[in-house]
Symmetry: C2
Subunit: 309 residues, 2 copies
Amino acid sequence: MRCAAAVLPDDPGTLPFEQWVQRVGARFEDAAERMLPPVDLTPTRLHEAMRYAVLTGGKRVRPLLVYAAGEVTSAEEEALDRTALAVEYVHAYSLVHDDMPCMDNDVLRRGKATVHVAFDEATAMLAGDALQAEAFKVLSDGGLPATQTASLMRELAHASGTEGMCGGQAIDLAAVGKSLTLPELERMHRMKTGALLRGSVLMGALSGQAALLTECTREALARYGEAIGLAFQVVDDLLDVEASTASLGKTAGKDAAQGKPTYASLLGIDAARAWSLRLRAQALTAIDGLGTRATRLRELADFIVCRSH
Amino acid sequence: MRCAAAVLPDDPGTLPFEQWVQRVGARFEDAAERMLPPVDLTPTRLHEAMRYAVLTGGKRVRPLLVYAAGEVTSAEEEALDRTALAVEYVHAYSLVHDDMPCMDNDVLRRGKATVHVAFDEATAMLAGDALQAEAFKVLSDGGLPATQTASLMRELAHASGTEGMCGGQAIDLAAVGKSLTLPELERMHRMKTGALLRGSVLMGALSGQAALLTECTREALARYGEAIGLAFQVVDDLLDVEASTASLGKTAGKDAAQGKPTYASLLGIDAARAWSLRLRAQALTAIDGLGTRATRLRELADFIVCRSH
C-alpha cells in the first residue's frame, strides 16, 4: 500500500499514463544510447549496425512491460533499464534476421531501410548474432545478486530459444502457404511473439525485490503475460489488414500477400477484434489481486489492445 | 595431492591422453545426443538442423578444454557436460552462420554438406540463432549454485559477443582483400577464435569448486587460454595451406582464395610454425604452478599445436 506522504509531485506513480510512457521511454532510449557499443570502437561497422537496429525507434512494448512489471516488485529503475535492454536486444535481433532475404526479404522497418539494406547481409547477420550475446551480457553485468541475475538469464534463454521465439519462427516458416487450424496458429504465436512478451513481464518483476514476488504473484504475472502476448499478435494481424504502410512503418498487407495464415483471415475481422478484447479481459482478471502496484500493467493492457500502429 | 588409495584402475586421471580424449569425447557426444531438442518434437525441422549442426563431428577442441580445465577445480563431470555443450553450441552456431552464402558461402563442413545446403538458408539462420539461446539455456538449467551459473553465463556472453567472437568475425569480414599488419591479424584472431577458446578454459574451471579457483589460478588459466587460443589459429592457418580438403573435411586453401590475410601469408610457413611452438611454450609456462591437476591442459596444448587436421 502506498503511503500518502510518500507521493511526491513528480512521483512516477502519479503521472498520467501517456506521460509515464514518455518518461520511461526516454529513460530506455537514453540507456540504449549509452550502453550499446560505441561507433568509434572497432569493429565500427558492426557497432553501427547494432545501434541502427536498436535505436531506430519502434513501439518499445517489451521495455514498457518490463518497467510496468518492475513496479509490482518495487524494482530499481537502473536494474529495469538493463532488463529492458536485454529483451529489446533480443526483439531487435529477431527483426534484423527476419527481414533478411532468406526469411521475409523486407526492405522497410519502422519507416527506414532494414539493416541488410542499410548495411549488407553479412553485417546484418553478425549484428543480430552480436545483439543476442549483448542481451545476456547486459544482464550479467548488472551487479544484481547472482540469484536474480541467473533467474533473469534463464527466463530470457527460455523465452528466446526453441520453446519460445526461435521455435515459433520455425513453425511460422513451415506454415507459409499452408492452412493452419486456429489452435496451431495460436501455438505458433504463443511461441513466436508471446514468449518474449510474457518473458518481459516476468523479467521486469524478477528485477525487483524477491520477497514481493511470491509464487502466487508470479503465476498471476505469467497469466497476464500470456494473455497480453497473444492479444498483441491478434491486434498485429488486424492492423496488418486495416492500416496503411505509412502508419505501420513497415510493409502493410504482407501477411496476406505471403499467404500467411492470420487471426484476421481465420476468424474474420470482427471475431478477431472481439477475441482481442476477451484476451485483454483475461489479462486484467489475472492481475486483479495485485492492487495499485499493477496499475501500469493494466494501462498497458489497454494500450496494447487499442493501439492503431 | 591425490590420495594413492583413491586411484582406481579406471580413474580418468590415470588414462593415457588418447584414451582420455576418447572417454570425455564419447561422454560429450552422449550428452549432446540426449540434451539437444529431439527431432520428434515440433518444430521438427529446426531441431533436426540444430542436431545436424552439432552432431556431425568436429574436433571438439572447446569441450576438451572444458573437461581438462575442470580437473583443475575438481569439477563434477555432469556440470562439465553442460559447460562443454554451451561452448560447442556457440561454436556450432558461428560455423552455421559463417558458412551461409552472405558470409563464406561454403558447401562443405566436416566432410558433409553445410546446414544451409542440407536444409535451407532460413532454417540455417534460425538454427544458429536457436543454438545461441540453447547455449545459455543449458547453463541456466544446470542446477549449480546461482553464483556459478551467473559467472558461467557472463563468461560465455563476453566470449561470444562484440569483444569476442562476433567482433572478431566483423573485423575478419572487413579485412577481406585488405592487407593487415601482424598486430591487426593477431587482434582479430584473439577475438574471433581466441575468446571462445579462452572462455572454454575459464568456464571449465568455473564449473568446479570455487575454493580451488583462486585469483592466481584464474589468471594462470586465462594466460594459458589466450596463448593456446592464438596457437590454435596459427596452426589452423598452416593447415589451410598444407593439408588437403579430404583430411580437413572442409574446403582447403580457401583463405588464400578469398584473399584473407593469414599467419602463413604474413610470416611465411616456417616462422608461423615457430611462433605456434612459442605460444605453446607460453601456455605451458602459464600453468606451471598448477601441478598434476593441469596435466590434461598440458597434453591438450601439445594436441592443439601438433594436430594434422
